[in-house]
Symmetry: C2
Subunit: 327 residues, 2 copies
């Protein structure tokens, strides 16, 4: 396979053929529902592509691909419960469609099932692979805790560095971990695994920073939802924290005021005023520069990997697709 579309098709085929239903059905129906919601399935795609880079065989990593995506969906399921998000991929989340206890227990079971997938295929690298998986999983939990802490701590107590550390753990390490695991199955050289891991970290940071950028500057028609939601929710974002480093004192205290929950201003008026400040300091260009820098760093890590260029092509296509995404 030498293009991204083939990898995505392969991953979707793996999921289509897998059975997620068992007894008691009260436990497994929400799991099947969650894993069939689809989504971009970036993590298993990365795992497969990384494995191919070093001459791996799809058959030996398809269980790991199921495992990494099952884990990812478990974290989404519990995050949606903790964040009280009613929708995921346009469909009701498990805790709204069923109830809170179902979300807790089905999520726990998905985490266990992820391990079962990783254990299905024998491999001489088993301990190393699972150690990568468990350290990744723990970092994702730590990242989610840090994200929840931000809300309690408030704006004055969260730096741009804190935020980058949080998105690295909550998002980037899982992309990096998926790539590393794929490479470990193919017994790749240590230095290349490390470069691939860096590639995943930069890609993940770029992805998350871009998410925040789209919330402020996405084209509503393409983006599919109203922009400015982070502002309405008083949510700490890469946009806001970057803006605070660029503002003079007057604008900084105005921004801080708008993002304090005590403010009773009309929501749309608030969005308009915040965006006015953002525009006045040239925030969009500054953030785009940061996003670009992460994509460039990702490409540089990929360049340095000792593998055939045609095998790198799917990963390059993925970078291009994410770089150019409008939603």
């Amino acid at each position: 396979m030498t293009n991204l579309a083939e990898y995505i098709e392969t991953v979707n085929g793996i999921f289509d053929r897998e059975n997620f239903v068992s007894e008691p059905h009260e436990l497994y129906e929400p799991i099947d529902y969650t894993l069939r919601l689809g989504g971009k399935r970036i993590r298993p795609t990365l795992l497969l592509a990384a494995n191919s880079l070093f001459g791996g065989d799809i058959e030996t990593v398809k269980d790991a691909a199921l495992g990494i995506e099952t884990f990812h969906n478990f974290t989404l399921l519990h995050d949606d419960l903790m964040d009280r998000s009613p929708l995921r991929r346009g469909k009701p989340t498990v805790y709204t469609k069923w109830d809170e206890n179902t979300a807790v227990l089905s999520g726990d079971t998905m985490f266990a099932i992820a391990w079962r997938y990783f254990l299905r295929q024998p491999t001489t690298q088993l301990r190393e692979i699972l150690q990568c998986f468990v350290e990744t999983a723990i970092e994702v939990c730590e990242g989610q805790q840090k994200d929840m802490n931000f809300e309690r701590r408030g704006l004055a107590d969260v730096s741009l560095a804190d935020y980058l550390d949080m998105i690295r753990q909550k998002t980037a390490v899982l992309l990096a971990g998926a790539l590393k695991i794929g490479a470990l199955y193919a017994d790749a050289p240590v230095e290349d695994i490390s470069r691939l891991y860096d590639f995943g970290i930069h890609l993940g940071l770029a992805f998350q920073m871009q998410d925040d950028l789209l919330d402020g500057y996405g084209d509503t028609a393409v983006f599919g939802k109203k922009t400015g939601q982070d502002i309405r929710d008083n949510k700490i974002s890469f946009l806001l924290l970057t803006a605070l480093t660029m503002c003079d004192d007057t604008k900084r205290s105005a921004l801080t005021g708008y993002f304090s929950s005590k403010d009773n201003m009309d929501e749309e008026e608030k969005v308009r005023r915040v965006m006015e400040i953002y525009d006045s300091i040239g925030l969009k260009a500054e953030v785009e520069k940061n996003v670009d820098a992460e994509f460039v760093a990702a490409k540089r890590s990929l360049d340095m990997i000792d593998a055939e260029e045609n095998l790198k092509k799917p990963l390059r296509e993925l970078v291009t697709a994410l770089d150019g995404r409008k939603k």
Copy 2:
């Protein structure tokens, strides 16, 4: 080590020396709190004793002992959240001392940490050990779901066989799994592992059936809490389901009536009347016969294992201690 007290002391020492605190502390403090609450630590004790049966070395299984108990405490933490239990071992549960989100995420992290412990010690049996662990974990989740289902399904729809299946998954398989894992580390013969697993299942069933027995017939002064709580809570138990198989139609419909939540009778009056029916059919002796049968079956499985008698002694002491327990 040739007696139970030494094993328990060893297990407690392992926990005393282990550090469970890390950053962010909002995530790890509830984990440390939970793992320091103590409890009987039966599962790691079983794991160590099973390992010694086949000439194992404590040093190679102490991480697995930490892993199995961390997993067990994770399930208690999430069960307490789902069951809304305010107290555990006489102390506030995590969701009451902190909040629901903390209980969800600290629990998830404990499950991951359990895996980290299992991965810390290299072993040639790694895949087999972890497969035993993951299948055990999945069964425990299924058992908890079945337990929650009973409340929704109501008495008419739950048989004694359903109940035994539930307690087997929710309680017994983890005791059996701990024993099997200990034996796997010592590379024990397959037939002995299977006998040890059966020993754990019988022990677990006896333990849980006895729990229900003590709720009805425990000596309040020793038991430490009021008896009859399952009756007050309309809780389906081994006592009730056994009673229903022994009753004539009149008593059966009376019992069913008392356990329907629509009944507004004074609680203590209800307990008195239910116990009157239980006594009239000789329930206590019948249930004791069942509990004894499980303990006897456990001992028989232990007898059949090809290991030195002095190494079996700690496990025999554990059976005796559980058999004679009054609380």
